[in-house]
């Protein structure tokens, strides 16, 4: 019984626009004629291609191998021929070396992939190995290699696991649909994670704008006789950010600059949990994911199960194309996603959504002077002074910005969202973080 309100300080209530896609069951999109698979889809060292142009591959074949501990392999997501290995536009920015595979339409699977009845009896190390081999990177958006997160150092035992089903970003409904449609798979994933970590407390955190998901989860937890609590959280962005989530659920403060494991917690996205289940139970690598394709600019918003590497164009085509007044294509949600130059970029492991936004939705205007209304200060979940930092950065005072804590900013975008003057805080903070790190490195 919790008496305290489950929440954190700050945050905003953007309009949700979830209704566009939340009732759309996940549709499987047919594999495209070709896929573009960047060698880097995760945080850490890029993987190394192990195929050459002209090679034939089957679904699930490793095409690039992890290089170092903090790195993950990638797999062929269609069967066919490697057509090229060359830099291609990447949804996170810039051009990245990518492996282009032409689909032969046969959908042949690598022979390794098969359901293993006794997977639950595997030991933790074997499970982690399967997770690594499956190429799992966090699907909540940050794409941090999952096996790393699951290998905490001995002095930092993890006692609490939180399944992040908050999906606090407006528009996105992929996690929501997964929780409804793949409830049991996800919970099996949770079991695996808790077993690997040997931790006692499990929470499934869901914002209370998804009552059906809460109900489904509660039902399944009861049926599966699991000892985890399904927590219904108030709707507030960024409820899903892990530090804020941990604060809301456990009332623990992850130290600034620290990691969840510093307070004995681990957070995984629902998509990751499902992928972990697939990886451990069937050695199935991460070759596809659920993407919410939505926005006023999309003619038929949907939740789509898409092969990794499918170009945005194709996915959007599958959803009826875009309207005339679309001015922005975004990889991810509207608050933290990245706007795209081109629709050629491929879906990667961290693509939770594809948004096509119209001019009206974005409400773009030129910035006005900051009127010091302090709304940004009030909403910042990290308790920073966004207006002060922005003003210092505009005058290139990076030392001051550093002192004001720009490195602690989680780039959630709440400040820019709420600002009546449309100050582009996040843009400035990203820039300042680069400059500050450059300076710190130079000094060290």
């Amino acid at each position: 019984m919790r008496l305290k309100k489950l929440t954190f300080k700050g945050g905003v209530h953007p309009p949700e626009y979830k209704e566009l896609a939340e009732d759309k069951a996940i549709e499987v999109m047919p594999a495209p004629e070709f896929v573009v698979i960047p060698i880097q889809q995760h945080i850490g060292a890029p993987a190394e291609p192990v195929v050459a142009v002209g090679d034939e591959v089957k679904i699930g074949d490793v095409i690039c191998q992890a290089k170092g501990f903090v790195s993950v392999p990638s797999h062929a997501t269609v069967s066919g021929t490697v057509k090229a290995i060359e830099p291609r536009p990447h949804p996170v920015g810039g051009n990245v070396l990518s492996i282009i595979i032409e689909n032969d339409g046969k959908d042949e699977w690598s022979p390794d992939v098969a359901f293993d009845e006794k997977y639950a009896e595997l030991d933790a190390d074997e499970m982690k190995k399967r997770i690594l081999n499956a190429g799992l990177a966090g699907m909540g958006g940050a794409t941090f290699p999952s096996h790393v997160k699951l290998s905490p150092p001995a002095d930092k035992p993890i006692d609490t696991f939180i399944l992040n089903g908050a999906e606090c970003e407006p528009y996105l409904t992929a996690d929501h649909r997964m929780m409804l449609e793949k409830t049991r798979d996800i919970l099996e994933g949770v079991k695996i994670i808790m077993k690997i970590l040997n931790c006692k407390n499990g929470y499934i955190a869901i914002e209370n704008n998804k009552p059906d998901a809460v109900r489904a989860m509660r039902q399944a937890v009861k049926e599966m006789k699991m000892d985890v609590e399904v927590v219904s959280l108030p709707v507030k962005y960024p409820q899903g950010a892990e530090k804020q989530l941990i604060k809301a659920i456990t009332n623990r403060n992850v130290p600034a600059g620290g990691l969840p494991m510093d307070v004995g917690c681990l957070v995984h996205n629902v998509g990751t949990a499902k992928a972990i289940y697939d990886a451990v139970s069937s050695k199935k690598p991460l070759i596809e994911r659920v993407v919410t394709v939505t926005g006023q600019g999309i003619k038929e918003p949907k939740n789509v199960l898409v092969r990794i590497g499918t170009p945005f164009e194709k996915v959007i085509e599958f959803c009826g194309g875009v309207t005339e007044n679309t001015i922005k294509i975004v990889n991810g949600g509207p608050m933290m996603g990245i706007a795209q130059f081109s629709m050629e970029v491929p879906v990667i492991k961290g693509t939770s959504g594809i948004l096509a936004l119209t001019d009206k939705e974005t409400g773009m205007r030129d910035p006005d002077p900051c009127i010091r209304c302090a709304r940004c200060v009030d909403v910042c979940p990290m308790n920073l002074l966004p207006n002060e930092m922005a003003r210092q950065i505009e005058y290139n005072n990076f030392d001051e910005a550093h002192q004001l804590g720009v490195l602690d900013c989680i780039e959630c975008g709440s400040c820019s969202f709420i600002c009546p003057s449309r100050i582009r805080h996040v843009h400035l903070f990203k820039y300042a973080k680069m400059e500050v790190t450059k300076k710190l490195k130079a000094r060290a």
């Binding site: 002077p369 003003r391 210092q392 505009e394 005058y395 005072n397």
Partner: protein, 209 residues
Amino acid sequence: MDLNHLFVITISAIFINNFVLNRFLGICPYIGVSKNMDSAVGMGMAVVFVMTLASMVTWLIYDFMLKPTTSNIFYIIFSAKEPPDLTYLKTIAFILVIASLVQFVEMVVQKVSPTLYKSLGIYLPLITTNCAILGVAFLNLDENFNFIESIVNGFAAGVGFTLALVLMAGIRERLELAPIPKPLRGVPIAFLMAGLMAIAFLGFSGLKL
């Protein structure tokens, strides 16, 4: 000693007749050292210290060396016929005493506490020929303050100066990040701001304690 009276002197020197905003003393450091908070605080503390000391010393000099009384030391040493009236030498005496005093303090601080010297010492030479210090000595005379009153007035005047300086420094740090029209940047806007501050301080005028 009437504490109430000392309280009135203090409030008056800090708020009602603020040295900078009402009496126009110490304007140069006020404009010159208010660009940054840290130096404003350092300068402020240095001024409080020197003003208090100067009030004390000049009072002693005036009463025991310049004023024609029977306790005048020249009268006592030279057993003159009547006490000499040397008050006309007050300007020259005060400025020399203050200048050497500041030098002396600087030396002592440097020897005794290098850390204090670092934060305070660099401002000391700037203060020597600052009209606020000499001004407080003359004001103490004008007001006929006794020894204790002079010290209190010197201290409070310094605090008033520091208050104006620190407020100004805070605001100017903000003004550095504002699109001020070119011709007004720097000193002119500082004066306009000082004018607006002085308008706000009119709120204290006519305070009856």
